[in-house]
């Protein structure tokens, strides 16, 4: 089990969290094109290596946490409050 250091609750096993995917995709402004929204919803870098992703601390504080994790080794390089869209 991975150990995720929730910025608010402290280090917890990853089963307390719900994975919420790539943290770098940002919802476009309302006036953005359909194509821009399609990219936001469907396309991912899916890099092999360090990956910024969101985990929701479902069994804890119910906050989204931004986790910087190497998806090749599962090593966590850091956690933080998520960077928000605006």
């Amino acid at each position: 089990m991975m150990l995720i250091d929730c910025p608010w609750c402290g280090p917890r096993g990853h089963v307390e969290f719900t994975y919420a995917g790539d943290a770098t995709v940002k919802r476009p402004a309302p006036d953005a094109s359909e194509a821009a929204f399609a990219d936001y919803v469907f396309l991912r870098d899916n890099r092999r290596g360090p990956h910024r992703e969101l985990w929701h601390h479902t069994a804890g504080c119910r906050r989204f946490v931004e986790v910087h994790r190497n998806v090749l080794t599962h090593e966590i390089l850091g956690t933080s409050a998520p960077e928000v869209s605006k």
């Binding site: 089990m1 991975m2 096993g13 990853h14 089963v15 994975y19 995917g21 790539d22 194509a35 399609a38 990219d39 919803v41 469907f42 396309l43 991912r44 870098d45 899916n46 890099r47 092999r48 990956h51 992703e53 985990w55 994790r69 998806v71 090749l72 080794t73 599962h74």
Partner: protein, 419 residues
């Protein structure tokens, strides 16, 4: 001595202590240029090369494999074959695949141990039976064999399941596809490799693609750990690593890579004859010819390129197993491993052209890759040879998401780990 495999040739070779069997496939050095390069020496890549040669007469083909043939998901899956899909594009595609499986061993002259012992999906409520009726009727309308079983019929086929009332999910019935079953995963890679090799395809192992050369919108060739190799056309069949490889060509895909674990028990005398799927618990099991119970569950739920998972999913999957097979409790889990899945945004594969001329993609298989192997190679070969999709993969295009033409079997939407 004859190159063909048969009981007779086996007996003849026995006389000379099997000292004269030839290589199953050659070990050629890469040529500077090929008409077609297939990236990925798994089942899909090898099948694509085989059908390029067999169906389209294109033999100036190289299959480039980073490691050893079948070392990706081909050699890591739970070997199930079936075509019990609801949506038409999937149904027709996987049914064609199942038909190819049925003649595969003889076509390849390599026993892939295609074992049509049946695949049962268990139902645990009336509403689930209704859903299965929906899928089953759709399958039959699509010309696919399928039966809806009541509890007693399931019990006759798989007596070892728990039919007592002291269970969380009592068995109401099931959806059976008799023509479904299993095949020997390694043999699929080796059989396609040998058959393709004999038609002149170069199979090159330990050759990692490190770059894809594209000039004015057209693919030129690939950089590899063994030097640059030019090609008129390049097809990628690296499911699990599609995101990584596509990025070399500057493409972003509607795919995330996730790890899926599988387990085997110690070998036992036969106790389960069919493939049993317990959907509510995300658990499925079959028994290998060696006697091991081969089990799988759900993905670990987070992006991963590591071919290993974590205990929580092992725990959950095996509790699910015990929920329907309490007799497994005292058996032992002997080996566990993980494979990296291309989880697409609608749970269906992507096979077709890309925005780059001469560059083709075959990926996004989620868990469905193994059973698709022959058909995937068949239609991918067609797509590469003709530069247009075969009828069976015309819906599996890369641009279907922009067009709003997703093929979402589960209705889970653009959430890869939910498919």
């Amino acid at each position: 001595m004859s190159l063909a495999y048969s009981a007779l040739s086996l007996a003849r070779h026995a006389l000379t202590g099997h000292r004269h069997w030839p290589r199953a496939w050659r070990d050629p050095a890469p040529k500077p240029r090929y008409s077609v390069i297939i990236i990925g020496g798994g089942g899909h890549g090898l099948a694509s090369a085989y059908y390029l040669a067999k169906e389209h007469g294109i033999t100036d083909v190289a299959v480039l494999e980073r490691g050893w043939l079948g070392g990706g998901n081909t050699g890591r899956n739970t070997t199930i074959i079936r075509s019990n899909y609801l949506l038409e594009p999937n149904a027709h595609f996987y049914e064609f695949s199942l038909k190819l499986w049925e003649g595969l061993s003889r076509d390849l002259n390599y026993n892939a141990m295609v074992s049509q012992r049946g695949v049962i999906n268990l139902a645990h409520s009336d509403s689930q039976l209704d859903q299965f009726a929906h899928r089953g009727n759709a399958m039959r309308l699509n010309g696919i064999d399928c039966e809806l079983l009541d509890r007693a019929a399931v019990q006759r086929m798989v007596p070892i399941l728990d039919y007592s009332d002291h269970v969380r999910f009592p068995i109401y019935g099931g959806l059976l596809q008799r023509r479904g079953g299993t095949a020997r995963h390694d043999a699929v890679a080796w059989g396609f490799a040998r058959a393709a090799d004999r038609r002149g395809v170069d199979i090159i192992q330990n050759c990692e693609v490190t770059g894809i050369r594209v000039e004015n919108g057209r693919v030129q060739g690939v950089e590899t750990s063994r030097g640059y190799i030019a090609a008129d056309k390049v097809g990628m069949a690296v499911a699990g690593h599609s995101g990584h490889v596509a990025a070399m060509a500057g493409l972003r895909l509607p795919i995330e890579s996730h790890v899926l674990q599988a387990f085997v028990s110690e070998p036992l005398k036969p106790c389960i004859d069919t493939v049993v799927t317990f959907g509510v618990g995300h658990f499925y099991v079959s028994q290998s010819d060696k006697g091991e119970l081969v089990m799988g569950g759900d993905i670990d739920m987070y992006n991963s390129y590591a071919q290993r998972g974590n205990m929580p999913m092992v725990e959950h999957t095996l509790s699910a197993g015990l929920a329907i097979l309490p007799m497994m409790s005292r058996l032992r889990m002997m080996r566990l491993w993980g494979g990296v899945m291309d989880m697409s945004m609608d749970g269906s594969p992507i096979i077709g052209k890309t925005p780059i001329e001469g560059f083709y993609i075959n990926g996004g298989w989620c868990y469905g890759g193994f059973k698709a192997t022959p058909a995937s190679g068949f239609v991918f070969a067609h797509t590469i040879a003709q530069d247009r999709p075969h009828k069976l993969n015309e819906h599996f295009t890369l641009d279907r998401f922009d067009r709003g033409a997703a093929i979402d079997e589960r209705g889970a939407g653009p959430t890869p780990n939910a498919h």
